[in-house]
Symmetry: C2
Subunit: 192 residues, 2 copies
């Protein structure tokens, strides 16, 4: 049996990873969409094992020290990470895995699982990214400027990925993702 | 500007390369479908530069000695080859090139242009290949046996290709080819 393929989707905040995946995931109930672990408290309506695996800081740190995360990071005092065991188990069973991770985490996964397929979702332009972030109207101007500056740095890391998908229209970008999935499964190296 | 990508489609006789391409090519008028040169005489209705570039044996041999072919071979006393210059010129201009070549020729292209994308069109099974070759009713039994024996040897070379597409249904196999084309153009290494 062939091993599953790990697909990682990443890109700057505002590039539209979520919208692209909303178009892509319903067509792939066969894929394992990995959930992150976090130490932040559940928000109303969030359930353990659905949005996140909720852990105490001690549990998280113990798992992290044991090498139990494919990647992990701390934002605003809360830790987030991708549990390694669940992902590896699916891959061994021949199930393809999809991870959606921000850029710094993606770089860690490249180190820890270089056989993965790394897909960078890019905005059509920095101007368009600004328009999108402003359009959300959820953040104040200084936050948007910070995000744009970070996005610019992250764009420079796109070359480390296997593929770059420009998200001009989410449906079309989802088709690109689809083509990548189909083609990668046809690679001779995966057919045994 | 990005260089064009050379896509090479190959596989055993009877695997259905032609039918797959008949479904694929009309959607890609932008690609350069390379024509072979040959020393065999034109058949009625064949025109120079349409089905083949027709050459004398002396012209062909001169070009071959100059390294003017990406691959060449002799069948039944006639020589066939893929002229290098036309292909390279298109690639330099950023135009993608499609070659359809039998397996021995494909191996030569892998040597001469390893940056190419090599796609092996495989029959669903050897039984199905036999059925297809018999169904054509154009060849006698001994010819079919020879082709099957050769196909078996060629199947063992599939692992040298970048991708393997199983041609169960030509329309579906053409979609696989389409996905490969889309995905390859999204590769980070090709986006400058």
């Amino acid at each position: 049996m062939n091993k599953g393929v790990l697909f990682l989707v990443s890109g700057p905040s505002g590039a539209g990873k979520g919208t692209v995946l909303k178009n892509f995931l319903p067509k792939h109930p066969d894929m394992f969409y990995s959930i992150s672990a976090t130490t932040r408290a559940p928000r109303p309506g969030e359930e353990n094992g659905v949005q996140y695996y909720f852990m105490t800081a001690a549990e998280f740190e113990k798992l992290r020290m044991e090498g139990g995360f494919l990647e992990s990071a701390t934002f605003c005092g809360n830790s987030y990470g991708t549990p390694r065991a669940a992902v590896m188990e699916k891959l061994e069973k021949g199930i393809d895995v999809l991870l959606e991770i921000e850029v710094q985490g993606a770089l860690q996964v490249m180190e820890n699982y270089p056989e993965g397929i790394f897909i960078f979702i890019a905005p059509p332009s920095m101007d368009e990214l600004r328009t999108r972030l402003v359009g959300r109207q959820t953040e104040e101007a200084s936050v948007i400027e910070t995000r744009l500056a970070r996005a610019e740095e992250e764009m420079a890391l796109a070359e480390k990925y296997t593929y770059i998908v420009v998200n001009d229209i989410a449906e079309r970008a989802a088709e690109d993702l689809e083509a990548i999935l189909v083609a990668e499964k046809l690679r001779t190296a995966r057919r045994k």
